[in-house]
């Protein structure tokens, strides 16, 4: 008994149908996969922020000051030995940044309300000359910033940590760690 070669051959219709089936399955699975990846990224970013802020706060409680700032994606030197082994400030979908900001209480330095007339600006001495010699309380804040292209990660972080502690700007979200110890300038 011989079989016809036509019955065993694969036609272009068979190939096209197989490709269409694969494309359909991929299209159905894609949204769920994308959502799962986003949820993982958000959870990982939240965990990383909590880790960094917790370690930095512990460092501040021990030493009385926040760690020195570091470039985006780089682990601050003071925190390197305190973070979990292998902890990185560079994740797949986001990057961490540690900052330290010095601020002054508005009440300690009231805003100038009178501007000099035109042409007299250079003749006037800077207002802060005398204040530079006085002691004014300067507070130091710590900040953990997450840089992410996906705004949904930033929105999730803002919702998780609250608008009273954090804010969103452009492609980054920043958690402000409050001052507890006051330095003098």
């Amino acid at each position: 008994m011989t079989s016809s070669p036509h019955r065993r051959s694969v036609t272009s219709g068979d190939v096209l149908l197989a490709l269409a089936g694969v494309a359909l399955v991929a299209a159905v699975l894609y949204p769920g996969t994308k959502r799962t990846l986003l949820e993982r990224a958000v959870a990982a970013a939240q965990a990383d922020v909590e880790t960094v802020s917790g370690v930095a706060t512990a460092y501040r409680d021990e030493t009385g000051g926040w760690p020195a700032p570091a470039e985006t994606g780089e682990v601050p030197a003071e925190l390197a030995g305190r973070l979990p082994p292998g902890f990185s400030f560079q994740a797949g979908s986001y990057t961490l940044e540690w900052s330290r900001w010095e601020t002054v209480e508005p009440a300690a330095q009231p805003w100038t309300t009178e501007a000099p007339p035109d042409g007299l600006e250079s003749a006037l001495p800077p207002q802060a000359d005398s204040l530079a010699e006085t002691e004014v309380p300067v507070e130091t804040l710590g900040a953990v910033t997450v840089h992410a292209r996906d705004g949904r990660v930033l929105a999730a972080l803002l919702e998780r940590f609250g608008a009273s502690r954090s804010f969103v700007r452009e492609r980054c979200w920043t958690l402000v760690l409050p001052p507890t110890a006051r330095n003098r300038s």
């Binding site: 002054v104 330095q109 402000v176």
Partner: protein, 171 residues
Amino acid sequence: MTDTRPDPPVHRISRVEDRERLLAEALAHAEAQEAHYKVLPADEPEHGRWKTPLAVLLLLVAAWIALTPPRWMAGADAPRPTAGERDRGLRAAIWIQARQVEVFRLREGRLPEHLSELPVQMPGLTLVRSNNRVYQIRGRLADGEILVFDSAQPSPAFVASAPLLSAEGTP
């Protein structure tokens, strides 16, 4: 004495009639081969013709799902930061930057020429000095408008960002 060696092939087909005959045979053979593989078995049209339209239909459905996935399949889209949240973030950034300008002024006895003189510069903000004492910090809101912080008359909207900078602002 005759030469018994066969003629070289070029001699055998050198005649025009021979070449035309060989060409016709070759063409006929090629057509027969093509027809042999081209013709479907008797039952093939009934079983195979639906495959291509179905494949095209499936591809169209796949493209529709990939480009605009229905909500029941993709789920609710996660929210992105609203314009109000971004504007509030801009005010907070300007407020923090202004306080850093004050620290600089206290330490250096002058206003900075640019925000780059500060230890930390927030992106997207510019410093405009009105004179030796008064300055403005400007940034762009989500709707494109310019938000101005004037050190002489700070808007209460900026002061609303103060909880960020104090221990009271933490839960």
